[in-house]
Each structure stands twice: as structure tokens, then as C-alpha cells.
């Protein structure tokens, strides 16, 4: 099935014939004009964008406060299974989890259909759009999408100014991953009368625990 594909050569031949007349297309003037205003204070902008796109951000000063923030989030969750990216920080936080809950670790497989919340790290945070830079290396592909709540832990050092900077991280570190993505708020739809409804297929709630740089 995936073997010979004679159409490939025919399509490419047609494309080559069609573009044989190609003329240089870049007009440098427009390419260099700035498109977005500079972002003088990325952290402030990140917090503002998250407020607008409905990402909850909890700013903490140190690891103790972060663990406490995690506890508060855990307590706010409905009963049920939890999923953690298998990293030391979550191993330590998960020790506080109520023993009635089932805990899954990314090392043991993906979250299940009934997982209530997932806890992962991120590769970066984008000030311009209030986005989380995630990938399949952050606990897998399902970890950021299948549960009603997604909790992300990171530090202010990971905040980058814009999408361009986030894509540079992806270009350097993440090209071996099968999935890379920017997550900008909770899952939503406006397909009915353009009325915004949160929690379409993905998480209704996205929480970032953002710890100050040490």
C-alpha cells in the first residue's frame, strides 16, 4: 500500500513544468516591516493574555509555594483518577494525593478516558498569546488534551516574548517529537450562534503554576 506511488512523479512533473517560469517572489520591504509591537515585559503580558484566554495562572515564589498551589488545585478537583508526567517534581507533589484516587504516571502509559486531571511540564510559555508550548515529550500526546483539567508547572524563566521565540525552541529541541503545540486557553467552541462555550472536547480548565525564577 505504502509502496509504489507513480502519481508522485506525475504530480511533481506537472508542478515543475508549471513553475518553470517562476520569478523571484520575495519583496524585502514588506518582509522586514514589524508586524507586532514589541513586548517590553513578557511576564506581565503573559499574565494578561492568560486572563483573556481563560488560562488560570498561579504565581508562586518558590517550590514550597508551588507544592501548596498544587495541593489547592488537587483539592478543587472532582474525585477520580489523576495523571502525572513522570518527573521528580510531580513524584514529590503526588505524595500528597488522597489515597482514594488512582494515580497514573506517563512512564506507565497515557491517561485514560476517565482521568480527571493531568499534570505536565512545558517547554515554554508565550507572552504574546498566553500560550503553553507543549509536546509529546511532556508526558505524551494525550496528557494535554484528554482530561477535563490540565495543570502545567513551569518557571518564569521559561516565559518567552513571542510565537517566533517559541518556534525557535521547537526548531532546536523538539523536531524529534511526534507532536508539538501551542495551547492557548481552555478548549472552546463558538459554533452555535457565535456564543463562546468553554470545554468542547478538551480541558475545560487549564492551570499554570508559574514559579518565580530561582
Amino acid at each position: 500500500m505504502a509502496g509504489s506511488n507513480p502519481q508522485r512523479e506525475r504530480i511533481l512533473a506537472r508542478v515543475r513544468a508549471a513553475t518553470a517560469d517562476n520569478v523571484p517572489t520575495t519583496a524585502p520591504a514588506a518582509s522586514k516591516a514589524p508586524i507586532f509591537a514589541e513586548i517590553p515585559d513578557p511576564l506581565e503580558r503573559f499574565l494578561r493574555e492568560c486572563a483573556a484566554n481563560l488560562t488560570e495562572v498561579i504565581c508562586t515564589r518558590d517550590s514550597m509555594e508551588s507544592a501548596a498551589a498544587c495541593d489547592r488545585v488537587l483539592q478543587s478537583l472532582p474525585p477520580g483518577e489523576l495523571f502525572f508526567q513522570d518527573t521528580p517534581v510531580f513524584r514529590s507533589w503526588a505524595s500528597h494525593v488522597d489515597s482514594a484516587r488512582t494515580v497514573r504516571w506517563s512512564s506507565g502509559g497515557p491517561p485514560s478516558e476517565s482521568t480527571q486531571a493531568t499534570f505536565t511540564l512545558a517547554h515554554g510559555f508565550v507572552a504574546q498569546t498566553g500560550s503553553i508550548l507543549s509536546s509529546s515529550l511532556c508526558g505524551g500526546r494525550g496528557a494535554s488534551i484528554v482530561a477535563p483539567c490540565h495543570v502545567v508547572f513551569g518557571t518564569t524563566e521559561q516565559v518567552v516574548a513571542d510565537i517566533d521565540a517559541a518556534l525557535q525552541i521547537a526548531n532546536h529541541d523538539l523536531l524529534s517529537a511526534s507532536y508539538v503545540g501551542l495551547i492557548s486557553g481552555s478548549s472552546r467552541t463558538a459554533d452555535i450562534e457565535k456564543i463562546l462555550v468553554q470545554g468542547a472536547h478538551g480541558p475545560l480548565r487549564v492551570v499554570v503554576i508559574l514559579q518565580a525564577a530561582s
Binding site: M1, A27, S31, I35, S184, D191, I195
Partner: protein, 470 residues
């Protein structure tokens, strides 16, 4: 030229133009789009520069399409993905249907893809016994109603919550828990969640194919694109060959521009890149990843210098929203996969013998589409070119005779005065006889819907004879 698409178009357009409820629904929808987009554009320090850059990126990609496609293919293969090149809709359908059959696929989830509409994929898959679930809410709603998408971005734009609740009551009564939008969304979520977790195959489109990274970019707000490409064993992404872009860094411009033009958002909630099946050491993801690159007429469009620019289209839907014709007749009247100005421009070129030449004429050439296009496709100019091509192709002997007469008249000021006098006499006579607007009125195409103009007693040039000197 087949006249059936034209007759169908006229019938549906006439029906919609008289439907004031429809007009109000669309107007409400587009009014909120207008507000969001105006706000969204303010996030750019220079929206016009952003449009220019997007136009350049896409033009560059198209000028070197072969090179970028091969680069993309190579990278996808490195990660263990398969790339299939399909010349026609039939080739693409066969490949995907064959894949589903050989892998014993029974349930398929789809995230939004206009290319799958273009090739009528769902029907082919259902014919061999698979259950196909549209998972974008708007697509799911129109699927339940057995309708094609009404709009390339907002498939259920024409429906009110009351109509949608009615559909859900009929089709998925057990999930219903109320009739307000949040409850309707929840009902669809519950129903589709079962499909997501049982499907063996996920089919997505692609907003962009990133050549240097070898990744498929998919934007969704609902997260259905993420689930479709994550949970099933097999992921098939299908899109047109023109969706290629050279560099990952191009998305720093294209993602915000697509979101802004499409819905007014700063960026789509899930801006996703998929580069392959589950990689060694990864927790989850499909075992198989297939990309289907569809030509289906695109390389023919590419061969025309004049028409090539339409391949820059990123399917944001902006030209539909701003189009006053679309706002009156809606998406279904066109009878095409792609509606609105871009559809009127693309369809006769992608499907030259399907009889859609009339669409270029169903426009007041108001240029709103051209001003809105985020990749600067000169849509009104493309409509003019399509009109010229259509007249050259079909002959249209009636119109040709009329415009030969027009030319003969315009080439002499004497003939022009005589013909002008005759026309004015015609209008005033119809009025005097009381037949204006009736079937006997030669001006009926005008007077059927409007009053005829008041006929002045003298023309300007007659006035000039007496007043020309100061």
C-alpha cells in the same frame, strides 16, 4: 456548458434572498465576527504588513512547490510516516478507504477538513461499512442534518440554537440535558467522546504543511483535532499540495493571521504540529501516520500565471464573511465545496467542466473580498479573469451579440446619442403604457425588483450645447 448548476443556483439563491429570517441569522453571526476581527486586528502593529508577509510566504512556497513538497515528504518519512500523492479525488478516496479496509477499521473520527468534503470521503468510507464521526461541533451538527457545511470555517452558521436543539432531540435524545448552547455542546461532547475512544482511525485536514520541519499544522479551538490525531491507532492527514509553507518560523506570522482573519482570535486555541506516528520512547500516539497530498486540479491552476495566486488561500473564510452576496444567499446556494468569493474563483478552475462559470458573474465586484483576504489574493480581479475566460470558452452568443452592439454604439458619439434616445424612449413608453415591471416590459430584469429611473427631458450633452460656454 451544463446549465444545471446555474439553474440550481438561481433557484436556491431566489429562495434565500426572500428568506428574511435567514438574512437576520447570518447578519447576527457576521456582525459578531466583524466586531471580533476589528478588535483582533488591533493586536497587530501593522496588519497590512502582516498580510504582505503572509502573501510572500505563500507565493514563495508556491513558486518552489516541488522542492518544498519533497523536503516535507523526506522529513515525515524520517519519523516513520507515510506520504501518498493523489492525483485525483478518486485516488485519495481509494487510498484512504483501502487503508481503512486493510486495517479492519470500523469507527473513524474526523476533525474538520474541507478537502475531505472536496473528495466526498465520508460517503466512500461509509459505503464500506465504517462509521464516520465528524467531531468539530459545527460539522457534527450539519452531519446529523445530512447537510454539507454552510461555511468553510463555521459550518453551522445558518442554524439557530433552537434548530440545533431540535436536531439533537431527534438524533441524540439520550445525551440531551437542556437546550442552551453550553448544554448542547456538552451533549455533543458526551456523544463524541465515546467515538474518540473507540475509533481505530482519525482523519484530519491540515492548515499548513511545514516543509523544513516535516510537520502538519492543524488549528482547532475545540481540541477535536488533538484527539483525532492522538487517540486512534491510525492518523491520516489529507490536504492539498498548495498548503505547503517553507519554514516553521513562518507560522509566527501565519498562525496569528489565520486566527485573526478566521475568527478574530489572537491564535487558535490548539495550534498543533504533527510530525509522525508515536516515536520510540513516547507515551502514546498513533502507530501509523499517513499524509495524503492531493492535487485534484491544483497543478493545472499552478500552470496559469494569472490564476496561480488563488493557491495562496489559507481557507480562513474571511472573504465569505465580508461578501454581501454570501450574506444574502448563504453557503448552500453555491452548490460547491468552497463557498463565497474564493469558491467562485477556485471552483471553475479546479473543475473546469463542471459548469460553475456563472459563479464569477454572481458578484457585484464590490471588492470587499479582496480587501479582507489576509494573503492578498486579488479576488475581484480573479472574478474578472474568470468572467473573461468563461465568455471565451462558452461563446455565449446572445451576450456576445449584445456587446458587439455595445461596442458599435460606443465607437461613435452619433450612434451613442441615437441609442441613448431609443433607450430613454423605451423606459418612458413602458411607464406611460403602465407596463413597467410587468412581463411585457423590456426593462423587466431591472423593474421586476426596482422602480425604473426618471427619464430626464434633456441629456447632459444637450444642456452643454446651451450652457457650455461660461
Amino acid at each position: 456548458m451544463s446549465t444545471i448548476p446555474l439553474q440550481e443556483f438561481l433557484r436556491r439563491a431566489t429562495e434565500k434572498c426572500a428568506d428574511l429570517t435567514h438574512r437576520a441569522t447570518i447578519q447576527r453571526n457576521i456582525d459578531s465576527y466583524d466586531v471580533a476581527v476589528a478588535k483582533g486586528k488591533q493586536r497587530f502593529s501593522d496588519w497590512e504588513a502582516a498580510r504582505s508577509r503572509c502573501s510572500e510566504i505563500k507565493a514563495e512556497a508556491i513558486a518552489h512547490l516541488d522542492r518544498y513538497l519533497e523536503q516535507f515528504e523526506g522529513k515525515v518519512k524520517e519519523r516513520g510516516g507515510h506520504v501518498f500523492w493523489a492525483e485525483t479525488a478518486e485516488d485519495a478516496r481509494q487510498y484512504i478507504a483501502g487503508l481503512a479496509q486493510s486495517r479492519g477499521v470500523k469507527t473513524i473520527v474526523k476533525s474538520k477538513s474541507m478537502v475531505t468534503e472536496e473528495i466526498h470521503l465520508s460517503g466512500a468510507l461509509e459505503k464500506q461499512g465504517a462509521a464516520v464521526w465528524e467531531t468539530d461541533l459545527g460539522e457534527y451538527i450539519v452531519q446529523l442534518r445530512n447537510e454539507p457545511p454552510y461555511h468553510i470555517v463555521t459550518p453551522a452558521m445558518h442554524l439557530t440554537r433552537v434548530q440545533i436543539a431540535q436536531t439533537f432531540r431527534e438524533k441524540i435524545p439520550s445525551e440531551m440535558n437542556g437546550e442552551e448552547p453550553p448544554q448542547l455542546v456538552a451533549a455533543a461532547r458526551r456523544k463524541l467522546r465515546k467515538a474518540f475512544f473507540s475509533a481505530e482511525m482519525g482523519i484530519s485536514g491540515a492548515n499548513f504543511l511545514v516543509a523544513d520541519a516535516g510537520m502538519v499544522a492543524i488549528s482547532t479551538n475545540e481540541g477535536n483535532g488533538r484527539l483525532t490525531t492522538t487517540l486512534p491507532r491510525i492518523h491520516v492527514a489529507i490536504t492539498g499540495i498548495e498548503k505547503i509553507i517553507p519554514r516553521l518560523s513562518d507560522l509566527a506570522t501565519l498562525w496569528p493571521v489565520l486566527a485573526t482573519a478566521g475568527t478574530g482570535q489572537p491564535i487558535t486555541t490548539y495550534s498543533t504540529l504533527i510530525g509522525g506516528p508515536r516515536q520510540p520512547g513516547e507515551t502514546d500516539g498513533p502507530e501509523e501516520f499517513h499524509v495524503v497530498l492531493l492535487d485534484n486540479g491544483r497543478s493545472q491552476v499552478l500552470a496559469s500565471r494569472e490564476h496561480r495566486e488563488m493557491l495562496k488561500c489559507i481557507r480562513c473564510g474571511a472573504c465569505l464573511n465580508v461578501c454581501p452576496v454570501y450574506r444574502q444567499i448563504g453557503g448552500h446556494a453555491y452548490g460547491t465545496t468552497y463557498q463565497g468569493p474564493i469558491g467562485s474563483v477556485l471552483t471553475p478552475n479546479l473543475k473546469p467542466s463542471a459548469g460553475f462559470e456563472h459563479l464569477a458573474f454572481a458578484s457585484s465586484l464590490c471588492s470587499a473580498c479582496g480587501s479582507a483576504c489576509p494573503v492578498r489574493i486579488n479576488l475581484p480581479h480573479q472574478l474578472l479573469l474568470n468572467r473573461r475566460d468563461a465568455m471565451a470558452k462558452t461563446g455565449q452568443s446572445g451576450s456576445r451579440t449584445m456587446f458587439r452592439l455595445f461596442r458599435w454604439t460606443a465607437m461613435s458619439s452619433v450612434r451613442f446619442r441615437v441609442m441613448g434616445w431609443l433607450s430613454r424612449k423605451g423606459i418612458s413608453t413602458a411607464k406611460a403604457l403602465g407596463i413597467a415591471g410587468s412581463k411585457l416590459d423590456p426593462m423587466r430584469p431591472w423593474t421586476q425588483y426596482r422602480n425604473g429611473p426618471e427619464v430626464p427631458t434633456q441629456t447632459f450633452r444637450e444642456w452643454w450645447r446651451t450652457h457650455g460656454r461660461q
